[in-house]
């Protein structure tokens, strides 16, 4: 009896010790346990869509003069890089396709491009040259696996013979290919990027093609202008400019090539943004003393205040799909954070809750917001400001840039597949460059030299 009790007691002891050990192991592992409910459901990205394998040949020359040769080179190069930049093609390297330049459907044997090593699903080809004083181009795309009906695209272009037009024709043909094979989204080869160019203490608004070509000035105001935002119909440019009365919103007509009326009001007025229907402009105005988000029509009339938070409110952007929401940056809790609300100011929701968040840009399909975020901001903290993308519905985010200096001002392309942004070693405009990347963070490259900042991608 005694023995049994003792034995019993000891084995109970062992049991309770084992329980204790288990509990302490549980304590050790508790942090992992709390994440059990957060497991991601799927690990691929968008698995239904895949890159289309596309081969592109050099175009066949239609004429043998020197100008045709130069223009054809520009065309071939531009077409190839446009298709590579698109983000949806697996463009076959030119060294892996059969040699030769088929110029017309009769010369094309598409099955050669379907075979290894090209293994292409589609092949683009054509002819180009200066004929009768005009730059003429014939472009085709064939389906390599459809021997009975191979033709997918057949286009003819006729333009002024210049390098600029050779590039434009390549852009248009690339866009046609992207539109036809890219699931319905239009290509971006003809879109433009507006940005700030700093020189001599001033900052002017400049414009360039989506790939960095053709950089030229738009404004010549001789002062500091910031935050260029092009209207959805590409006709007007809104920006903020430093004048006698501080920073004011200016409206510039690209059709008339001059500023058009926008009233100056008291306070600091900055960071304009267009609604997708082009009928409203949101901006930050401190006419009441505290910078708040205001909305007016594009001529500045009918202005109404939409936020009423203490602290700086700036950088509004409309949801480009619905036009019914605005995302913006507010410092009402201290460091600036990202918020969204309905366009009338109701239903305010914080999206970030820490760090220093700034410069939101809403994706064209309305589902994600790209912004610049420094999650370790503070005095003495090294911090790093990078581009992040956050899914609006779930608030889950990913970091797209790493160790690139201070990055800011992301702007989505109209196809929702690319983001343009600015990075600077120290945050200053003089050493800032504009970069572009696919919206998943890959294929990053700079498209300007130093002194370029605050890019804005056109809507079409």
């Amino acid at each position: 009896m005694d023995r049994k009790t003792r034995t019993h007691r000891h084995s109970r002891l062992i049991q309770s010790l084992t329980v204790l050990l288990t509990l302490s192991l549980a304590a050790l592992l508790a942090p992992w346990a709390t994440h059990a409910g957060q497991d991601q459901v799927y690990t691929g990205t968008n698995q239904g869509a895949t890159s289309i394998r596309l081969a592109v040949t050099d175009f066949k020359p239609l004429a043998t003069d020197a100008q045709s040769g130069t223009l054809k080179q520009v065309f071939d190069k531009t077409l190839f890089s446009d298709l590579q930049n698109a983000g949806i093609f697996d463009v076959v390297s030119k060294s892996m396709i059969p040699p030769g330049t088929p110029g017309a459907p009769s010369e094309m044997h598409a099955e050669n491009y379907a075979a290894a090593p090209a293994n292409a699903a589609f092949v683009g080809f054509g002819s180009l040259g200066v004929v009768g004083g005009k730059l003429v181009a014939n472009g085709f795309v064939f389906d390599t696996k459809n021997a009975q009906f191979p033709q997918v695209i057949a286009k003819q272009y006729s333009e002024e013979p210049s390098e600029e037009m050779a590039r434009q024709v390549a852009h248009r043909f690339a866009d046609e290919i992207i539109r036809t094979l890219g699931g319905g989204l239009a290509g971006i080869a003809e879109t433009k990027i507006f940005y700030i160019h700093a020189a001599g203490g001033n900052k002017e608004i400049w414009q360039m093609d989506y790939d960095g070509a053709n950089q030229h000035a738009v404004t010549h105001l001789g002062t500091i202008s910031l935050s260029p935002r092009i209207s959805p119909d590409n006709s007007r440019l809104a920006f903020a400019s430093l004048g006698k009365n501080g920073f004011q919103i200016r409206m510039y007509s690209l059709l008339l090539n001059r500023t058009v009326a926008f009233p100056e009001v008291g306070g600091t007025n900055i960071s304009p943004a267009w609604s997708p229907d082009g009928r409203q402009v949101a901006y930050s105005s401190s006419r009441t003393g505290d910078p708040e988000i205001w909305v007016s029509d594009p001529s500045g009339a009918d202005a109404r205040r939409v936020t009423s938070f203490r602290g700086p409110d700036a950088s509004p952007v409309f949801n480009p799909k619905s036009g019914a929401q605005i995302a913006w940056i507010s410092g009402r809790t201290g460091l600036p954070q990202l918020y969204i609300m309905n366009s009338d100011g109701s239903n305010v929701q914080p999206m970030t809750d820490g760090g220093y968040a700034t410069s939101p840009s809403w994706s064209p399909n309305g589902q994600a917001i790209a912004f610049a975020w420094n999650r370790k901001y503070g005095p003495g903290a090294p911090g790093g400001q990078d581009i992040y993308v956050m899914e609006v519905a779930t608030k889950k985010w990913i970091q797209l840039t790493h160790d690139s200096g201070t990055c800011d001002f992301p702007s989505w392309s109209p196809d929702g597949r690319h983001i343009v942004y600015a990075c600077s070693p120290n945050g200053g405009t003089e050493r800032s460059r504009i970069w572009t990347m696919l919206a998943n963070g890959t294929q990053r490259h700079a498209i300007t030299g130093p002194g370029a900042d605050m890019p804005n991608w056109s809507w079409k």
Partner: protein
Amino acid sequence: MARQITTRHSIQAGGRLGSGFTSSFVLHAAVALLLVGWAYFSHAGQHWGAADATAGSIQATMVSAIPLPSKQPTDQNNVLATERPSPAPAPPAPAAVQTPKANEIPIPTKQVKPPPTPKVAEKTNPAPAPKVVAKNTPATNPSMHPVPTQPTNKAMTGEATGLRIAMSSVQTRAGTSSVNVSDQAFGSRFAYYVQQITQKVASQWITNMLDAQATGHRVYINFDIQRDGTPTNVRIAQPSGDTTLDQTALGAVRRIDTFPPLPDAYTGSRINVTYYFDPPAHP
């Protein structure tokens, strides 16, 4: 004798130790529980990769919001890795041999309800990655591959090498999406377009995740695509028997804003498409 004394001592010692030990361990267990509880509650709100409670953990898959194709999960060093098309069934042998009899279809779940058009062979998918599978049937039984059942004279027009697709399939982790265009001629002529519709629908399906309880039924969704690519008239043509699966499939199409515009060379104003979905077979 000495042993016995020792024994008694140790028994007594053990006894004393036993009771003291037990109470001290009860105390320790209580402390441990306190620690575990504190650990749990103080860290319950934290998520990896975020500095705060509202931001979620880093999740690479959220780029489902971004319309980019997936990165190929293959060896980066192997340049040709993505160039090998997945093993797809060979083009069907001449029609005469393989026509299955109407009563010969053995696997009820795999039965293809005949849409108004006759079935066509699977196309060898030109894009490398999507695994085009012939109807989930076992590869060892070639007679199960769907083959043209239309009258032979009609089949002759498409008999040349290459493919005639009114229908194409994409298999993904969530299951197999298949698309069938009612206009046979459209499907043959604009094979690339049918492929795009299929991919677009299949990708919507992934991002709108399937109910884990869905069983192996097939649901048919029918819709029109207008000239500019807008899908209209989306409806369930034949339910699968599982309403969750039906609604999920319906939602997958409804959420598509637009398909590519209809090909320029096509003169009609719209096409009619049937999409059916096979969830993956659960173990």
